[in-house]
């Protein structure tokens, strides 16, 4: 097998393992995938919409749907990638790390696996949106599907960095993932508008990688509509450049630190 083919094969098999594991442990996977869209979109989004919609010049539920899809896919991939620390606890990383493949392929395989398993959640978001009569044009769905790999890679890359810092504590990693992902959900404008945020909150909002992912999706979906100027913060190309920079740094530094942590004991 050629070197590149070997790496692609490794990425595929590691991703496939994540998918098989999710389906083998189907109860929590199904419950999380099915109920998180209901909880986020119907309960949280619905409640805010009923109380805020009068003061907004755009459809809040559609605004929240896009943000919540980004946030949920991001969180879902983060959780999947942190299973690296669980693997380490169970000594399974020995088997993966002694294989003649790039360490980046291992992490990328985890991210791809997390991306695929999060698709069920995305599908459930579409179902809940349909039930709630939130309009979503076919082009908007195409943009969402197009950005799924970008969103998941970004979440996975941040997760590797967290796992590398807290690699000795699976519980610590889980807590940090929850803290950081929810922090980003609140600050990034996923379901609360941040276009008027200022001061510390404004700075924090702009420091969150998720802010640019949410803005990128909304920038594409709302392009040409009157709501664009009320909702979108930056040009989608700027968002994409910032997301790429954040993700590349997190991925490279996180993988380097995780591997170093494995070897340098």
């Amino acid at each position: 097998m050629m070197p590149l083919q070997r790496e692609l094969n490794a990425i595929t098999v590691i991703a496939a393992r994540e998918i098989v594991r999710a389906f083998r442990d189907w109860m929590p996977y199904l419950a999380y995938s099915a109920f998180s869209p209901v909880l986020f979109l119907y309960v949280l989004g619905g409640t805010i919409a009923q109380n805020l919609s009068g003061g907004l010049s755009y459809n809040y539920l559609q605004f929240a749907l896009l943000g919540l899809i980004v946030g949920s896919l991001y969180m879902s991939t983060m959780s999947s990638v942190t299973s690296l620390v669980q693997d380490r606890e169970n000594d399974f990383t020995q088997e993966i790390f002694v294989a003649p493949i790039s360490r980046y392929s291992i992490i990328l395989g985890k991210i791809v696996g997390g991306t695929v398993t999060s698709l069920l959640q995305l599908f459930m978001f579409f179902v809940v949106a349909l039930v709630m009569k939130i309009s979503l044009a076919p082009l908007a769905i195409a943009f969402i599907l197009l950005l799924v790999p970008v969103i998941c890679f970004s979440g996975g890359a941040l997760s590797v960095l967290i796992a590398s810092i807290f690699s000795n504590s699976p519980k610590g990693v889980d807590q940090m993932v929850i803290l950081i992902s929810f922090g980003q959900m609140f600050l990034s404008g996923a379901f609360i508008p941040v276009s008027n945020s200022s001061g510390v909150l404004g700075i924090l909002a702009r420091a969150m990688p998720m802010t640019y992912l949410v803005d990128l999706l909304r920038g594409l979906v709302y392009q040409g509509s009157p709501a664009y100027s009320h909702i979108v913060l930056y040009n989608p190309l700027i968002d994409l450049a910032i997301v790429a920079a954040f993700s590349a740094v997190f991925f490279v530094v996180g993988t380097f630190l995780f591997v170093r942590g494995e070897r340098n004991r």
């Binding site: 595929t12 496939a16 000594d91 399974f92 088997e95 002694v98 494995e262 070897r263 004991r265």
Partner: protein, 317 residues
């Protein structure tokens, strides 16, 4: 002959530890050799094997495996080796066969296929043959959660042999196996060693397994206490003697005088035979014997002797 494993002045100190886990050790392993790395718990065996297999960084020293540097050419090193870890490194959410398939895919031997039935015939034949040999064929498609410790160990062995490595590292491979499985496994590993010329680097607690080794490296407190063949180990380190006694001890003493016997605490005669054979000694004795015990060393005794002596030395320091 060019060595396949070259270790020079290897030292390892774990973070936050004042003690050296491995202290300036050097040795060579040659192609096709069966090399046993022995030592008590905490001697530095697993640390050394982890460094050789690129999963742990060394503090200092130089190591090449098949001519590749373990740090700068780690991927090339990993291509040449197989390892059976001390602690099971299996995914309990997968079936036994899925664990094997994952392994061969990671090593790039076969392209990924989502089902066993889609894998090439050669893979299926190899898996079945090894599973049959180790007696887990009927359990291959069962979840690993149902496996006993011994079955998991067998599975790891099948997995480790699937990619025909040039060097096979075995870290306590027979731990948890019953006597019959252990014997069968060693029959197979010896066949792999001889027929496929696979170099075997073994650490084990079962000292008798080292009897089959071409050479033994004994480590204790992170240092090499002995390096040589099992015969050298037995000959150089353990006394060979006959223990004799008779009702007429004074007659026996006079007949044994030319052999300079040692008298034990309970008055028996201990006659060492470095130059002569036991037969030559017995030939000189006319007195009827009430006791005759021939004491020839085993590797286990030589091992115990070395470990205990080294431990005493370490305590004295």
């Amino acid at each position: 002959m060019q060595s396949i494993i070259h270790v020079e002045k290897l030292t390892k100190r774990y973070h936050k530890s004042e003690k050296l886990a491995v202290n300036n050790i050097s040795f060579e392993v040659y192609p096709g050799e069966f090399f046993a790395f022995l030592g008590p718990n905490g001697a530095g065996k697993t640390t050394t094997i982890s460094i050789l297999t690129t999963t742990l960084a060394k503090t200092s020293g130089e190591i090449t495996i098949s001519g590749y540097d373990v740090d700068s050419q780690a991927k090339e090193v990993r291509q040449n080796i197989g390892i059976i870890f001390q602690n099971p490194s299996l995914d309990l959410n997968l079936t036994a066969e899925e664990n094997i398939r994952l392994h061969v895919n990671l090593y790039g031997i076969y392209a990924y296929k989502p089902l066993y039935s889609l894998m090439p015939q050669e893979y299926q034949r190899q898996v079945m043959e090894l599973a049959e040999f180790l007696g887990i064929r009927k359990d291959l498609f069962k979840p690993l959660k149902t496996f006993s410790g011994g079955m998991k160990r067998k599975l790891e062995i099948i997995r480790g042999l699937m990619h025909h490595p040039t060097i096979l590292f075995l870290d306590e491979p027979t731990q948890g196996l019953d006597a019959i499985s252990r014997r069968d496994l060693w029959d197979y590993l010896r066949k792999v060693n001889k027929n496929q010329k696979t170099t075997i680097f073994l650490t084990t607690h079962y000292i008798e397994e080292a009897e089959y080794a071409d050479r033994i490296c004994l480590v204790n407190h992170g240092q090499i206490a002995f390096l040589g063949t099992p015969t050298e180990m037995k000959n150089r380190l353990i006394e060979k003697y006959i223990l004799l006694d008779a009702d007429n001890r004074s007659a026996l003493r006079s007949q044994l005088e030319p052999f300079n016997p040692e008298i034990t605490e309970d008055g028996k005669f201990k006659v060492h035979f470095e130059q002569q054979t036991p037969q030559q000694i017995l030939f000189q004795i006319k007195t009827p014997l009430s006791l005759m015990e021939l004491h020839t060393p085993t590797v286990e005794e030589a091992y115990m002797d070395l470990v205990e002596n080294k431990t005493e030395e370490a305590k004295a320091q």
